[in-house]
């Protein structure tokens, strides 16, 4: 990156195409073909001829304009979809071009999932609209977490402490909101708590050049230990005053919440969903279309060059790591005042790390992180749906699904990633 590019007012839009190696493309094709065999034999021919399924598109009591439920035979649908899926897989195997690989692959996966859900809900009813809602709800903290990661890592500091910032944000937000009865104060304090841990990460890793991953892990251990300790000493004895607070109630956006299927799921939600959407838009534009974003990325890619043109590298990093902590703190608050209004020890259950994986899968881009978070959220809601539908799969295996899917995605679809060039490397001003 040249000095001119850093100084210039018109930053180039990052539009690097994802490079997919021939081997990986072929692997995806083979995966689709195998999936189609499973679809054909199990979901299609394995189902008795008359079995039908219903996908409900409008939940009862929903304010959206009514859409009639989809009603279709399982066997025929699955067979057709299996054929299409196999064709897509073969296409991936034979064709030479890289462009569009992911679109084709995603299409095949969607077909597979559709047929799988139809099979799981045969002679039964599947609430598709509810499933989309559940996907978004469980994706929300992960979206915040991966945005936090993007903020930090684009400026060159690895933030493994998202989990700890989640926990601290959840804890502080709950305790403050519960004690004061003021949700907004709780949210602000939760954000502040995350920001403080971000500040600690920045302080130790920027001022003393400590290993950033190590500091992050220790911050997680610290936050876990501290919240556990304080839960035992404060929340358990004062459960009624400190740990049973109000929660944000949904706000319906007029008209938009009438959109069929996604309307109530996206536009009749609590403040966290809207915050996530705003943040996503702001961060995407900010990172790739503004001077602020260009400087931020310059610091993460080539701090020496950034310093040469007069950007104060460490200040930029401090600021971003602290803001990243604030974002993760808000994501943490979503666990308590955004959902149940109660804190329990280790309630984040590793989702901070999932957010980290989402950020990497999203290739350090906000919308990439969003997609990955939605994928994980979908795996979660799929698991919940399947356990309701009495699918003959052990519930303990279903619980593993989100984690297994993350592993599969990270190793199968992402592979070697290219992080910001100076991500995780300490910088000493010249």
């Amino acid at each position: 990156m040249t000095a001119v590019a850093i100084l210039g007012g018109k930053p180039a839009v990052a539009s690097e195409a994802r490079i997919v190696s021939a081997g990986r493309r072929r692997g995806m094709g083979i995966f689709l073909v195998l999936a189609s065999v499973l679809m054909l034999l199990t979901f299609g021919l394995g189902v008795s001829a008359g079995a039908e399924t219903t996908f409900r598109l409008t939940s009862p009591f929903s304010t959206a304009w009514y859409l009639a439920p989809l009603h279709f035979p399982v066997r025929e649908t699955s067979v057709v979809m299996a054929v299409v899926c196999a064709a897509l897989g073969l296409l991936l195997i034979v064709r030479r071009r890289t462009r569009g690989t992911f679109v084709i692959f995603s299409l095949g996966v969607v077909l597979f999932l559709w047929s799988f859900l139809a099979w799981a809900a045969r002679n039964n009813l599947l609430d598709l609209a509810g499933m989309i809602g559940a996907t978004l709800i469980s994706a929300i903290p992960i979206i915040f977490g991966s945005m936090s990661g993007v903020m930090c890592e684009r400026s060159g500091v690895i933030n493994v402490a998202i989990e700890g910032q989640f926990l601290m944000g959840a804890f502080i937000a709950e305790i403050i909101a519960s004690a004061s009865g003021d949700l907004w104060l709780g949210l602000a304090c939760g954000a502040l708590a995350g920001g403080l841990l971000g500040g600690l990460l920045a302080f130790l890793s920027l001022r003393y050049s400590a290993d950033q991953i190590i500091v992050g892990i220790v911050i997680n251990a610290f936050a876990l230990g501290l919240t556990n300790y304080l839960t035992d000493t404060l929340l358990v004895p004062y459960q009624n005053t400190l740990n049973s607070g109000p929660t944000f109630s949904p706000i319906a956006i007029p008209l938009l919440d009438k959109i069929p299927i996604i309307g109530p799921d996206v536009f009749d939600q609590n403040i966290f969903v809207y915050l996530a959407i705003v943040l996503l838009v702001v961060l995407t534009t900010g990172l790739f279309r503004t001077r602020w974003g260009l400087r931020l990325r310059a610091v993460g890619e080539h701090p020496e060059a950034a310093e040469t043109v007069g950007i104060h590298v460490l200040t930029v990093r401090y600021r971003n790591v602290i803001w990243g902590g604030v974002i993760a703190g808000i994501g943490g608050a979503a666990f308590t005042i955004g959902s149940t209004g109660e804190f329990s020890s280790d309630m984040t259950a590793g989702l901070g790390f999932v957010a980290l994986a989402a950020m990497i899968f999203g290739r350090w881009r906000p919308y990439g992180g969003l997609l990955a978070a939605l994928l994980f959220g979908f795996a979660n809601s799929l698991q919940a749906t399947l356990s309701v539908l009495n699918v003959p799969i052990n519930p303990n295996i279903l619980v593993m699904a989100p984690y297994l899917i993350t592993i599969a995605v990270v190793s199968g679809l992402v592979g070697r990633v290219r992080p910001p060039a100076n991500d995780g490397k300490p910088y000493r001003p010249q």
Binding site: I213, T233, L404, R418
Partner: protein, 428 residues
């Protein structure tokens, strides 16, 4: 403190230390200079002190009686000071006597020759807790030395414990065969769990941090699955409780039935020696270190980087599995949901505390075991939650990981702390 790293004779300092000054101090003067220098021992000691200090602040800030005493600060300052002092003092006294032993009880045992069992129980419990922690810490330390961050200790520990318990309850040969079989099974179980991230990293470039963390949750759920189905579930049990292993698979106690300390201690020491040998002498370990330091150089030198990546995680996972086997066959004897507790994560901090050197990890695991065992005693006698120990541990590692901070807070001189290779960021 003075005999751990300091040598009194004024021999020429090793080449690695700071350059020798013309008027280098000698004798006791040199000792005092050493005391104010930022070397490994001083930094660690001050880190431990800082951890205990923060722990004391936390006790003061959260215990109702102390807070009440502080509200009397202006009317009865004496009460404030004495209540604070006694509460914190009691907590730390319990932490000490609960982990190392009560000096009075030990004195009584020495004087009368009776009650040795009671006197040595805390020490025995500390050693019992330390052995798996040490082996798991070695697993993480080995990874750090080669630039590989294995956070999957928890999952690998569970895999090892599951394999060991299967061998433990399924067959019943004499102990001389059964115990080694369990050791092998534990190592193999963990090694399989370590092979997955190693293979994925080597073949597809999936980052081991992500894969190992996800595998932790997979194995936690796999354990619940196994414990609610045959053959792992205890017969006639509705809960997720594992079958008890045969007596022949139990690790023999060293000092009779009353003290629970067992041969797991020797396994831990053997592992420490083995890892030390591997990293210092073995061709394999040399390859590991080269791959850790510079993958391109390793490739040019003809080292198979993929093979090394997989092998490091296999050995590391195997050690973590062995840790699971030691706690299963040494003290628990049956599996339960969430087996291993915090050991899978504590071992990371132990490895950091020990600076990834086997001897350091042995000492670090002893310290952490003492904090945990003593913390349990403290919880029982004073009501202060055990989690205080984990806060103290985190603070200690904060300071150990950033020697520069200790240097500034305590105004030490110079920097003589090598950190070695730790993690290598996200780039493969």
């Amino acid at each position: 403190m003075s005999d751990t790293g300091f040598t009194v004779p004024a021999a020429a300092p090793p080449a690695s230390t700071s350059p020798v000054k013309a008027n280098a101090p000698r004798g006791w003067s040199r000792f005092f200079h050493w005391m104010v220098e930022a070397n490994v021992v001083m930094v660690t000691a001050l880190a431990i002190f800082s951890g205990l200090f923060v722990g004391a602040v936390l006790i003061i800030a959260t215990q109702a009686n102390v807070l009440h005493a502080w509200s009397l600060l202006f009317s009865h300052p004496g009460t404030t000071v004495s209540v604070t002092f006694f509460t914190v003092g009691d907590a730390y006294r319990d932490l000490f006597t609960g982990s190392l032993g009560d000096p009075f009880v030990i004195g009584h045992a020495i004087a009368t020759g009776h009650g040795w069992g009671q006197a040595l129980t805390p020490l025995s419990e500390t050693l019992l807790y330390a052995s798996p922690l040490c082996v798991a810490g070695l697993a993480v330390g080995l990874g750090f030395r080669t630039g590989m961050f294995n956070i999957g200790g928890q999952g690998q520990l569970i895999a090892g414990a599951m394999a060991a318990s299967y061998v433990g309850f399924e067959i019943d040969p004499p102990a001389i065969i059964h115990v080694p079989l369990c050791i092998l099974a534990g190592f193999a179980g963990g090694a399989v769990a370590g092979f997955i991230p190693g293979f994925l990293k080597a073949r597809t470039g999936a980052h081991e941090v992500i894969v190992t963390i996800m595998l932790n949750y997979v194995f936690l759920n796999l354990l619940v699955l196994a414990l609610t189905t045959q053959p792992f579930q205890q017969p006639h049990q509705a809960n997720a409780v594992g079958r008890t292993i045969f007596g022949s698979a139990e690790l023999p106690h060293i000092f009779g039935q009353n003290l629970r300390v067992n041969v797991g201690v020797f396994i831990a020491i053997a592992c420490a020696l083995g890892v030390s040998w591997l990293l210092r002498r073995g061709t394999l370990g040399f390859g590991f270190r080269v791959v850790g330091a510079n993958q391109d150089a390793a490739k040019v030198a003809g080292i198979n980087v993929r093979r090394a990546t997989i092998l490091v995680l296999v050995i590391s996972g195997g050690l973590a599995g062995l840790a699971g086997m030691i706690s299963l066959c040494g003290s628990d004897y049956f599996l339960s949901a969430g087996y291993g507790g915090t050991v899978g994560f504590d071992c990371i901090t132990v490895a950091l505390l020990g600076r990834n050197r086997p001897i350091g990890i042995v000492l670090g695991s002893l310290l952490f075991a003492a904090l945990n065992v003593g913390g349990r005693y403290m919880q029982a006698s004073t009501g202060i939650p055990l989690d205080l120990a984990s806060v103290i541990q985190a603070i200690i590692v904060f300071f150990v990981a950033t020697p520069g901070l200790v240097n500034e807070v305590y105004r030490l001189r110079g920097m003589n702390v090598g950190q070695g290779l730790l993690t290598r960021g996200w780039a493969a």
